[in-house]
Structures are given as structure tokens and as C-alpha cells.
Symmetry: C2
Subunit: 445 residues, 2 copies
């Protein structure tokens, strides 16, 4: 090939690229125009939530559909039936995570994923997790109904055993998928009767052939009820979730000398209860110092020997510290240790801080946060940026994919309880935000 | 009879009275002289404690000889054998209380009694209770050995089920005898396996025919280990016990609203743990205000639902307030209620104070206290006046008889524990004080 021919070829190829770029832009603009007034069918979504809630319905309006039980299988089966009705293809991985895929224009491109979990707490509500899954399905149903093609494929994911109620730890399906845990560990987790996740996946027919390993993802969104009262207090319909609080769990053990409550003078006692007041009060002050996002919780406390007329030998206090900024959380951790040392020294106690869990703060992907922000602003819903105080599958997903979350209010902030409740208009609003955040991501190359 | 004969008779009778009075005084003076250098056989007492401790000997040097078990029967049998060897007569009442009596010069006079209990805690020591019984026996043995006659009879009493470890409540034997409980109630108390005191008394052959009812008593003394550290700290060999602390037991229940430790802002929490710090600290300050005798103890504390990542709905705190003056204890009770109201109100909590036990302060009989003081001063032992912080049979006995107690130090104040320990010289000193307190009371009309 001579030089002029090569030059002509190059020129031609550049021309092609320009045309392609223009075409892509045109497609995006057209699609954007075509979809900008699109809304989900809130009624249909509500009905699907009600339908799913019948499987494992609780006495008090909630749900007991724990991971990998027969009821969980029924819920999964129902979900898959619904997915197939709208033309999705379903694959299941070795951890039982379900991926329901709606093809895109270019199926070589990484998918936009959304989803959550279908398992519940033993006395859980109807919305925790389930809402994120069925709103994802509603997004696909809306696109299907309006025959809208997206550039990227879209997948709705059901993650296995998010709650951790039957098998510990929580979020094991997304955790294995994201490489936080290996599959052997995931399969070997047991419930209280000794059944393993592996056995139970086999038993209900949900151990898929696809490896539970992350693939390239364009963007991941998880829609969830807030499980806290902030949106309700602030009267906002949508929470743009920019990250997840870092959490540190400790057991603080204070040891003194047990003695008889009657004869022993106060002045010679070595009484761990004497330090509980100052320690808890100084930690609550620490939360105030780092307000409004710091959290300090003492969920459990016990005494040994727990005899009414004996000064306790040992007090064990569960301490839970949280903050969405990792550096602040570290400062809180340091202050906690100083406070314990000072007070234990003052009251002549032996002290021990047992680290029980350390979950660093998560900052979600700015592109995903912006996709949600753009959607919510286009739709005109009242909104605010906040952090998630609870763990979610998105914590693990965000380690391998650009991720963010969307919250809607839940009544009085109550969750993990049959009384969990939401407003239908918020359910619809959240689904619309999810729809447009997904579209914002899925129609762009 | 003419007037002069009547006058002569009156004169004669007056003369007789004077002679009798003189003779009694002379007898007392002679006896006092005769007994003033008398001391107990500390070695024999120590051996008897060791011998008794073999019955139910614990793994770690202590004793497990719970009320009305086969082992308790063995201990009782051994005690009675020892009593009969020195010529005592033994009677047993319907509650199994044993009265071992050494006759006096005038057996119409009310007896001086002493004693305590032979039952132990499940992992009790060798001295709690047992020392008071066997020191009483040693007093009788010493008098027997020296052939000393007392004006009043002397009785050594073994009270049934003082510890309350097997059957609740504690001090049931002395309680029925003193009329605090009726016999039907006493007999119907059950152990954890459903056996009643009545059945067990029958089974081991210790349900006596004598009614368990107080009779007139000249004076009652109980010698006991302190079960606290005051004598050791103050380096005194003898405690002259002038009363028993009043005690009030409460369960304080604080109720808030459970919520998730992550999402819920600190500012909207209704968290009972927030009030625990101020309440405990203000109560410790109350103890300081009424020091050195006030006692404030939080022997048990628990959270509900006791989940690490949930703000507790309910905290239950066991509160034990004590003071030897009833009016001060009442003031402490009032202050406690005010503090709880104020802090519960401040933190928007519901609060409930459940009264669990109210044992008013006991002031022992001044005559008995003086008998002990005179004895200890004659003997020249280091001593101090103090209050009992623990309950004893003497609390009930003092309701129907002039009563006081004598304490000796116990190592590190430890009791209700196999590690309970005492010094042989203190054991002897305590017994000598008991001997002379009894003599001071038993030789006077």
C-alpha cells in the first residue's frame, strides 16, 4: 500500500470515528429527550411489594423470610418469574446471587446494576431490601413497557443473605462477589442448626454455575428505605446517599474487686460501676463534639457476678462508635481509649478494650452520586445528601464498582421490625429517581 | 395476830430481803472475782472449727454444707454430740433450731443465749456462722471445765437456714422463732428442686416437738466474723457491734425507645443509657454526703434487647442503699427517687422504681452492747464500735430479746467465698469477749 492510499485510509477512518461519535451523541440526546418524562408505575411496584410480602408474612404486618429457607426460595422463584415475563435473562452465581439482565444496544459494554436483597430479619418488615430489588424490576418493566433501549445492559441483582440473621456475617453474597470473602468461607457459614450456606443453596436449587466474582460494572445503584428518621425529621422525600458511616465495635471490660455491698466502706471499694458514669458521659460528649454525624451507642451492659448485694467484679459494656469520615472516626477511637485509661486509672480498675469489628467509612463514587443528584433535581423531589448509618450490600459492591445509594423515608425511622412502614408516594418517588439515575448512566457510553 | 407480832414479822421479812440481796451481791462479786481471769481454750475452739469444716469440705479450703442437707445433718449431729459431752441438754424446735442448754443456779430465770448458724453458702467459708456456734460451745466447755455455775442458764443456739442459699428467704429459723414469719410459711419454703423446709426437716430428723416461738431471754449475743474489711483496715481485734445497717433494695427500670445505632441522630434518641451516668454518679455523691456509713451499690445492670447496634429500650439497674441510721436511710431513699425523677425527665425516659426489700436499721440493746464493751475493756483487746453491714440472725432475735453482736476481723474482708480466712489469735480473742459478755449477763439477776 502506497503512502497516499494509507493517508486516504487514515482520513476515512477518522471520518468514521467522527460519524460514530456524532451518532452516539445523537443517540444519547434522543434517548435523553425520549426518556425525560418517563416515570415508573408506582401502583404496579406497590402491588409487587404486597405480593412478595405474602411469602413469609408475619403476624403484625411484617415478614419472616430468612436467607435460603423454603420461603426465600419461593420469593426468589417469584422474582425470577416476573423478570422472565419482561424478557430478562437470569443467571445465578455460586453464592446464589441472582442477576436478571435486560440487554442493551451494545452488550459488550459493562452493565449498570441495581438491586438489594429479598431475605428478611426474623421479625422484619416488608421493605428493607425488597424495595430495592422490586424497584429495580419496576425500572426494567417501565423500560420494557415503553420499549426503550439503553446503550448499556441493565441488571437487577438479588444478593444472598444480606441480613445476617440466619447466617453470620451479614452481606455474605455481595461480600464474596466483591472478593471480601472467599467462596469456601461463604459456603461454610452455618445457621444455628448447623446447616451451611453451601448445603442450603444446593437444597433450594440456588447454587448457580457462574462464579461469584465481580465483572466490570458501569455503575451500581441501590435504592433502600432509610432505616433512620433523618429524612422524616427534615421532611425530605429523597436521600442522596454519599457514603456509609464507618463503624467500630468494642467490648469494654472493667475489672474491680467484688465485695459485700454492706460491710465494705465506699472508700476502699474498687467498683467498676464507678467508672461507667464518667466513661459513658464523656463518650456522649464526644458524640456532641462531632455532631451531627457522630454516633455513640451502648447497646449492651452486664455485671458479674450480677448479685444484687455484691459490688461487681466485672462490667462489660458494648460500645459502638460511628462517623462517616474515617479520620474523625479514628479520632473518636483514640479519644475513647484515652477516656477509658483515665477513668480506669482514677478508679483503680483493670480495663480491656476488645475490638469486635472495624468497618471503615465508605465514600461512594462521585459520578454515581451526581447521576442520582441530576435525576432527583430533574424530577423536582425535595432531597438532601446524607450518609447511611447501616451497612448495605453497596458497601462491598463499592469496593469493585462505581456505586451510590438512594434513600426514601421510613415511618419513625423504624426498621428490622414488623412495624416498618413507608408512604406509597415515597416508594414511587424513589423508584423514579432510580429509573433516571440508571438511565443517566446506561444511555451514555 | 396482834400488831406487834405483825410488825415483828415485817421486820423479819425485810431483814431476810436484805440478807438475800447481800447474798446475791456477794455471789455476783465472788463469781466476778472467780471468773475475771478466765479464758477460753482457743486451741480447742480452732480444732472444733477444723473438725466441723471437714463436713462438706470444699475444693479450695471452704465449705459447702447447705441447710438441711445430709451434710447439715452430720454437722448438727456432731454439734449435739459435743454439747452432750459437757452435760448440756438439747432441745430442737419445729423449725429445726437447736438449743443446747447449760443449767444455771436458778433455772427459773431466763437464759442468756448465744449462737449463730451451721449452714453455709454453696462455696462458703469455714467461719461464717460456724464460728459463732462453736465459740458458744467453747464458752460452755470453759465453764464446765472450771466448774463455774452461773445464775442464769446459758443456751447455745443453732439457727436453721441463715444463709438463704438453699431456701429463700435467709434467716428463716430465727425469723419464725422471733415471730417475723409464721411456721407454715417457714415450712413451705422450697429449694430449687421443690423440696420444702418442712419435708427436709422431717427427712433429716430435725423437726423438733418444741414450738418455734421466742421465750423470755436475759440477753442474746452473736459472735461472727466481720465479713467486711473495717476492723482489718483500722487494725482492731474486736468490733463492738451497735446495730445493723438498714438496707433498701430496688430495681430501677429506665425505658426509652430502641433504635438503630447507625442512622438515628443522637439528638432524637431516647436512650436510657444516657441517664445511667448521672444517676449512678449522683448516688455515689449521696454516699459521700453520708459517709462513712452510707453504702451505695449497683450489683447488677442489664440492657434490653441487649443488641450491640441497637439503642436499648430498657436498662434495669439493681440499687442497694444502706445506712445504720433509719432517718438517714429514709433521706437517701427520698434523694434517690428525686434523682431518678430528674434524670428520667431530662432524658425523656419512663422510669419505675421497684421496691425489692426494705430492712430497717437495727439498734442493738444498750445493756448488751455495754456487756460486750465491759468484757473487751477488761480483756484489753483493741476495739472499735461499728455497724453490721450484713444481715444476721441477731436482726430477728433483737426484735424479741436484748441483743448485740461481736465481730472479729476476716482477711481482706472476704466472706461467702472459700477464701474466707481468720487469724487464730482473733478467734480466741473473740471467744474470750463472748465468754465475758455472757458471764457479765448470766451471773447477775
Amino acid at each position: 500500500m502506497d503512502h497516499s492510499a494509507l493517508g486516504a485510509l487514515k482520513h476515512f477512518l477518522n471520518h468514521c470515528k467522527l460519524i460514530l461519535k456524532h451518532a452516539t451523541h445523537r443517540t444519547y440526546s434522543m434517548m435523553k429527550l425520549e426518556t425525560q418524562t418517563l416515570t415508573a408505575n408506582g401502583e404496579r411496584l406497590w402491588q409487587s411489594l404486597e405480593e412478595m410480602a405474602k411469602i413469609g408474612a408475619g403476624q403484625n404486618g411484617g415478614c419472616n423470610r430468612q436467607a435460603l429457607t423454603d420461603l426465600d426460595k419461593q420469593g426468589r422463584d417469584l422474582f425470577i418469574t416476573w423478570c422472565k415475563k419482561i424478557g430478562c435473562t437470569v443467571t445465578i452465581d455460586s453464592m446464589g446471587n441472582i442477576f436478571s439482565r435486560r440487554a442493551g444496544i451494545n452488550n459488550e459494554l459493562p452493565p449498570v446494576i441495581t438491586g438489594s436483597h429479598l431475605d428478611t430479619q426474623p421479625t422484619g418488615g416488608k421493605y428493607d431490601g425488597v424495595y430495592g430489588v422490586l424497584a429495580g424490576l419496576e425500572v426494567l418493566a417501565t423500560l420494557h413497557e415503553h420499549d426503550i433501549q439503553t446503550l448499556h445492559p441493565i441488571e437487577v441483582v438479588v444478593w444472598t443473605n444480606e441480613e445476617g440473621a440466619r447466617f453470620s456475617p451479614a452481606m455474605i453474597g455481595s461480600g464474596v462477589w466483591a472478593g471480601v470473602f472467599d467462596e469456601t468461607y461463604g459456603h461454610s457459614r452455618t445457621d444455628s442448626e448447623g446447616n451451611t450456606i453451601g448445603q442450603e443453596l444446593d437444597r433450594i436449587g440456588y447454587k448457580g454455575s457462574q462464579p461469584a466474582t465481580a465483572k466490570p460494572i458501569k455503575a451500581a445503584f441501590e435504592l433502600h428505605i432509610e432505616q433512620g428518621p433523618i429524612l422524616e425529621i427534615e421532611q425530605k422525600q429523597i436521600g442522596v446517599v454519599s457514603g456509609v458511616q464507618g463503624m467500630r465495635w468494642y467490648d469494654l471490660i472493667l475489672e474491680g474487686q467484688p465485695c459485700h455491698a454492706g460491710p465494705t466502706p465506699m472508700s476502699v471499694r474498687i467498683d467498676p460501676m464507678m467508672a461507667i458514669g464518667p466513661i459513658t458521659q464523656r463518650l456522649y460528649q464526644l458524640a456532641e463534639k462531632f455532631s451531627p454525624w457522630a454516633r455513640v451507642t451502648f447497646g449492651d451492659i452486664s455485671a458479674q457476678p450480677a448479685a444484687r448485694n455484691t459490688v461487681p467484679e466485672r462490667i462489660t459494656l458494648a460500645v459502638d462508635l460511628r462517623h462517616p469520615q474515617q479520620d474523625v472516626l479514628q479520632e473518636m477511637d483514640k479519644a475513647f481509649r484515652t477516656i477509658v485509661n483515665q477513668e480506669a486509672h482514677k478508679y483503680k480498675l483493670a480495663s480491656c478494650i476488645r475490638d469486635e469489628w472495624d468497618s471503615p467509612a465508605v465514600q461512594f463514587n462521585q459520578g454515581c452520586i451526581n447521576a442520582v443528584k441530576d435525576a432527583v433535581e430533574d424530577l423536582g423531589y425535595s432531597n438532601m445528601e446524607l450518609f447511611s448509618g447501616a451497612g448495605h450490600d453497596s458497601v462491598y459492591v463499592s469496593q469493585v464498582a462505581p456505586t451510590s445509594m438512594i434513600f426514601i423515608p421510613c415511618e419513625n425511622g423504624i426498621s428490622h421490625n414488623e412495624a416498618e412502614n413507608v408512604l406509597p408516594e415515597d416508594v414511587t418517588a424513589g423508584c423514579n429517581v432510580l429509573l433516571h439515575a440508571i438511565l443517566n448512566s446506561a444511555i451514555k457510553a
